[in-house]
Amino acid sequence: MWIETAHFGLTLAFFLAVLGCVVPLMGASLARRTWMELGAVAALGQAALVLFAFGVLTQAFVTSDFSLRIVAVNSHTLKPMLYKVAGVWGNHEGSLLLWVLILTAFAAAVALLGRALPTTLRARVLGVQSAVTAAFLAFILWTSNPFERLPVPPFDGAGLNPLLQDPGLAFHPPFLYLGYVGLSVTFSFAVAALLEARVDAAWGRWVRPWTLAAWLFLTIGIALGSWWAYYELGWGGFWFWDPVENASFMPWLIAAALLHSSIVVEKRELLKAWTILLAILAFGFSLVGTFIVRSGVLTSVHAFANDPERGVWILIILCAFVGGALVLFAWRASALETRGVFSLVSRESALVANNVLLAVSCFVVFVGTIWPLVAEMIFDRRLSVGPPFFDAAFTPFMVALAVILPVGSAIPWKRATLGKTMRRLVPALVLALAFMGLAWSIQTNNSLLGPIGLALGVWLVAGAATEVFTRAAGRWSRLTRLPLADWGKATAHAGLGITIFAVAALTAWEVEDVRVMQIGERVSFGGIGLELRSVENVQGPNFLSEKATFVVFDGANPRAPIFAEKRFYPVAGMPTTEAAIFNGVMRDIYVVIGDAQAGGGWAVRSFIKPFANWIWAGAIIMALGALLSLLDRRHRVAAGAGRKP
C-alpha cells in the first residue's frame, strides 16, 4: 500500500517538475510575477514528494520487505541494520532515487535561501533545476522503477556485495552524490545567467557558495572512497586511476577551477564567459561520471551495479542538457562583454594559470579514461590505460600548480611586481628546500619523488601560513579578526600541501615484506617487529572467517594486537580480505594474511606505509577550508540569508 502510494508520489513529482520547469521559465520571459513564484512552490513540492518516496523505500529495506524486487535482490535479513539502510543506495534504482532526492533538496534550498535573488534569476535557476529533475524522474519511472513488486516474494534476500558492507562505503555514495548534484545548482545558475544574458559581480557572489558546498562534499566523498579502498581492498592502495574514481575526480578538478574563476568574476568582472563554461562543464562531468558508473561501458573494479541499456538514457540526458547549454553558451557568450585589463604579473593571471592547469589536468584524466573505448571503437586496438600512464601524464601539471600556488595566492590584483611578493615568501621557500635536502640525506633509496613531494608540501603549508600572517599585518591580535574566507583559503591550500606530501611519501618510502610465518614466530623488518600469535576459524553474523592475530613490537615492547582476516560470505559466495592495520601518526603497519603453506606456517604480506593517514587528513583539511569559506559572512549573505545594501 505504502509502496504504491510512493510510486504514485514519484509520478506526481515528475509532473510537478515539468510544471516547475515550463511555467517559471515562461513567466520570466513574459515578466509575470505569479508564474515565476510557482518555481519555488514546485521545487518544495518535488522535494517533499521525493523525500516521501525515499522514506518508504528505506522503510522497505529496514523491514526486509522482499515483495519489493530491489530489496529481494540486494538485501538479506541477516545483514546488520546499517547496511540494510545503506543497501537503499547500494543498487541502481535506489542510488538514482537518492540522486534525485538530493537534486530536489538542492532546488528546495535555492527556493528557501535564495529569496534575495532577483525574481527572474531565481525563477530561471529553479526552472532549469526542475528540468534536470524531470529528466531524471522520467529515467527512474520508465527504466529503473525502484517500486517494482515481485509476484512471488522469496523467503530471504540475495544479499549485498560483501565488499560494500563497510562503514566507509556506506557513506561514500551519499557524499559523492551531494557533490555531483550540488554542481547542478551552479549549472542552473549558469544557464539562467545565459538566458538573462547578464553575468556580473553579484552573479559571481551568488554562485560561489553553491560551488563551495558541492566541492566540499565531493572532497569528502572522494576521500571516503579512497580510504575504503586502502583498508578494504587488501593491498593498501589508495588510488587506482580506475574509471569510476576518475569519474568523481574530473568534476572535482573542474569545480576547483570554477571556485577560483568565480572569484575573478566577483572581484573584477573578468573571465565571465569562461566561468559560465566551467559551470556547464562541471555538471557535464558529473553526468559523465554517472554515465560511466551506471552504464559500465568502462569496466572497473567498482562496477557493482550496471546495465548498458540504462547508460543510453543517461547519455541522452547528458547530451540534451550539456549540449543545449553549450549551444546557448555559443549564442550568448559574446554578449557577456568583459571590462578591465590586467598585467601579466597579477592575481588575475595567477588564477588564469590555476584554471589552465586544472582544466588541462582534468582533460588528461578524461582522455586517459575514455581512451580504451576510443582505441577499440576507432582504431580496433584493445589496450589498457592504467596508473603508470596517469602518474606520468597527470603529475607534472599538479606539480606546476603546487609550485605557483603560494606565489599566486599572495600576489596583488591588477598589477604587481613579482619581487615584492617573492620576498615575503623567501622563508617558506628556504624551509621547503631545507626539508627537501633533509629528506634526500635521510632516505635510504635514491627516489626524487619523496624529497620533491615533501618540499612541495612544506612550500604550500608555509606559504599558506605566510599569507595568513601577512593579511594580519604581522600581528597576532589581528589573526582572530581575519575574515573566515581568508582562513578557509589558507586552510584548503595547506590541506592540498599535506595530501601532496603524503601521496609522494607513501609512494616513495613504502616498505614491503613477503614471507612465510610460523605461529609464534617473530620477524623484524623496516625497524619494527611482528609476531604471528594465532590463526583461528571464527563465525561472524553473515560470514565465516580465518582470523589471524598479530602483535606489533616496538623494540622488545609489545603493542596492541591487530587482526587480519580472510572472510567468506556464503550468501554472496564471495571471499574478502580484511587487513590488520596498526594506525600511527607517522606510519601505518599493514598486514595481510594469505594461505596456509604446505610445509606449515602462513603466507604473510606486510607493509610499512609512511604518512598514510596524512592523505585523508589533508583531504579533510581541504574540506574544512571550504567549510570555513562557506561560513564567511559574505557568502551567507550571497546565499540569500539577507540582503546587503
Binding site: P387, V514, N537, L544, F568
Partner: protein, 160 residues
Amino acid sequence: MKFLTFLAAIVLAGASFAVEPSEVLDDPILEERARSISQSLRCLQCRNESIDESNADIAQTLRVLVRDRLLAGDTDTEVVDFVVTRYGEYVLLRPNGRGANLVLWLAGPVLFLVTVLGLWLVAKAAKPRSDGVPLTPQEEAALQELLARGDEKGPERHEV
C-alpha cells in the same frame, strides 16, 4: 554449518593473495625488477588490477613467467616484449606511444601549449596601446606611487 565451513575452506584456499612467498626470488635486485615489471602489467581477467596486486590464477602465472624470464637473463624490456607478443598490448598498463596512442600521450601537453599560446596572443592584442606621448618623469613617479598604494589595499577595495 559444517557444510558451510567445508565450503569456506575450499573457497578460501582458492583465494590466494597477490605475491606468494614461494614466488619471491632469492636475488633481491632481480626481485625488485620483477616487482616493478609486474606493476606495469595488467591482470587479464581482472578489472584494472596489475598482476602484482591481483589474486587471480592468471596473474600468478604471469608473475612466475616474468620471474622465469628474468632468471633466464632477459632485460626488463625483453620481458615486457615477450609478454606483449603472447598476450597483446592489452596487458600494458602504461600504453606505448605508437600510432594512435600518440594522441593519448600528447593530448595534455598539446592542449596546455595551445592554451598558453592562445592566452599570450590574446594578452598581446588586448594590451592598451599608448597614444605616443610618453609620460614626463614627474607623471611617471606619481603614477608609480599611486599604483604602489593601490597594491597594498587592492583586494579589499573591491569587496562590496
